[in-house]
């Protein structure tokens, strides 16, 4: 009778833990960014596709020589993505109605709650108070989970390195500029101020003000204000964001919201379950040791036959 009560108690408490853990408030998924985080407002209506930002990034981050010169516009023939040699690339998006094409610079958007950071099991990533998502290359084991986790397909991989490949991506010029309150190299070189640097909270206001003042110029939406819990880099465009290759299906929930319930269960499964089920097993098989040994013997005999 006593043993039955104990088992019953075990089952009830186990069920309570497994159900209770995920429904706890984890205080993640509601983080709206550091108050003094910087950001960049990308006004794609101003960009003329000069690729100066690509050149500036290449020099600032001491990246290898490009395949083609930075003033070669033939690269717009295809849609490029960020690589280990280029932390930022500009792509051209042709308008449907014989209007002028749009250009959009692509780089890490420095999410308030980065998917890459969430997914990294060695904790290589850090979201700094200045708003940058940086990573420790010494810690990176090259597992590429962050490449899968990033909703913007940003982290690139040093496939060229045979022995110690690691992740490569834009770090908002954190080490050389942002840390000292300076704008990233791409922003500084942009001839038309398509890139505006400032406090993220101010840029959100500024973006809405631009839309209000010149409604004909803009689609009424700042991409990145709410997407995926908010990003440090924000985008204004003439037409809806999908027209400049921005994914509108990402939703406003940060990546961590999709996995926190599952991740919340992992410690419980790893710590409580082994003890719980070992206990159940030991209790259930108590006093049956002799029988087990006997049946094993018989099985072995059966095998020999």
């Amino acid at each position: 009778m006593k043993r039955r009560d104990f088992l019953k108690g075990c089952l009830i408490s186990g069920a309570a833990t497994s159900l209770g853990a995920p429904s706890k408030s984890w205080a993640v998924g509601s983080f709206e960014g550091y108050p003094d985080a910087m950001g960049v407002l990308v006004d794609t209506t101003r960009c003329i596709g000069c690729r100066s930002c690509e050149a500036a990034c290449n020099k600032e981050q001491k990246l290898p020589e490009p395949d083609v010169p930075f003033d070669d516009t033939s690269v717009f023939e295809e849609k490029r993505r960020t690589t280990e040699k280029a932390y930022t690339v500009v792509n051209r998006y042709d308008a449907k109605d014989s209007q002028k094409p749009s250009y959009r610079k692509m780089q890490c958007n420095h999410c308030n709650e980065p998917g890459c950071l969430t997914s990294c099991f060695v904790n290589a990533y850090t979201k700094t108070g200045e708003g940058a998502v940086i990573y420790d290359a010494k810690v990176c084991v090259g597992c590429r989970t962050c490449m899968v986790a990033c909703p913007f397909n940003i982290p690139a991989y040093s496939y060229s390195s045979a022995f110690a490949p690691i992740i490569k991506k834009c770090i908002f010029c954190y080490d050389t500029r942002l840390k000292f309150g300076k704008p990233p190299a791409c922003v500084e070189i942009c001839p038309r101020e398509a890139l505006t640097f400032g406090l993220r909270k101010d840029l959100v206001k500024l973006g809405h003000e631009r839309i209000r003042a010149t409604p004909d110029r803009y689609f009424d939406h700042i991409y990145g204000e709410k997407e995926l819990g908010g990003t440090s880099w924000l985008y204004l465009s003439k037409y809806s964001p999908e027209n400049i290759g921005l994914d509108e299906t990402v939703g406003n929930e940060p990546i961590i919201s999709n996995v926190k319930e599952f991740l919340g269960m992992v410690p419980m499964v790893l710590t409580i379950w082994p003890a719980l089920f070992s206990g159940i097993h030991l209790l259930a098989t108590r006093g049956k040791d002799h029988d087990d040994a006997h049946s094993n013997d018989s099985e072995q005999k059966d095998g020999k036959k």
Binding site: A55, P69, S74, G181, K182, R192, D202, L206, E209
Partner: protein, 174 residues
């Protein structure tokens, strides 16, 4: 009597002159302006101000309300309908060359108007290129800016162009 009239006339002329915008008086309106703020990467070039005055005629197209003529932007006119000519009319007199320094960002936050004033570089490139685009003027980067040696190296172009082209035959090839 004569002397008195002469004195009064002189005063009148001075007063009238003061009421006429400096631009109309031909005072300090340069015919050419050498643009060299990006001289590290590009060779300085001469902006033909006189030619643009003849072509555009309307000062406010570039100088907003500062030359004393009515601004073209209805948003600006809300305040600057009757603005007089200002002391400074040059681009760099109002547009900063370092708009994103910590001090500049702090300063911006204190402002009520002119919140989104572009930097000197942006003001020129937006004003020039947008108008050139409309008026079929030259809009290519190299049409105005000739690289210095450092500039060519920065953009990996000219003598610094990548030697080893990718095997796949480059971009947009046949």
């Amino acid at each position: 009597m004569q002397a008195k009239w002469l004195w009064l006339n002189t005063v009148m002329v001075i007063l009238l002159l003061a009421a006429v915008p400096g631009t109309s008086r031909g005072i300090s309106v340069p015919d050419t302006i050498t643009l060299d703020s990006q001289s590290k990467l590009y060779k300085p070039f001469k902006f033909d101000h006189a030619k643009h005055i003849l072509l555009v005629k309307e000062c406010s197209n570039c100088h907003h309300h500062t030359t004393g003529t009515l601004d073209q932007d209805p948003n600006c006119v809300r305040c600057h309908r009757n603005s007089n000519e200002t002391q400074v009319v040059s681009c760099r007199g109002c547009h900063q060359s370092d708009p994103f320094s910590a001090a500049a960002i702090k300063e911006k936050n204190r402002k009520i108007y002119h919140l989104d004033k572009p930097s000197l570089k942006a003001a020129m490139h937006r004003s020039c290129i947008d108008c050139h685009d409309k008026m079929k003027g030259p809009i290519g980067c190299q049409d105005c800016h000739v690289y210095t040696k450092e500039g060519a190296a920065f953009y990996n172009t000219g003598e610094f162009a990548p030697k080893n082209k990718p095997a796949k035959g480059g971009h947009g090839g046949h």
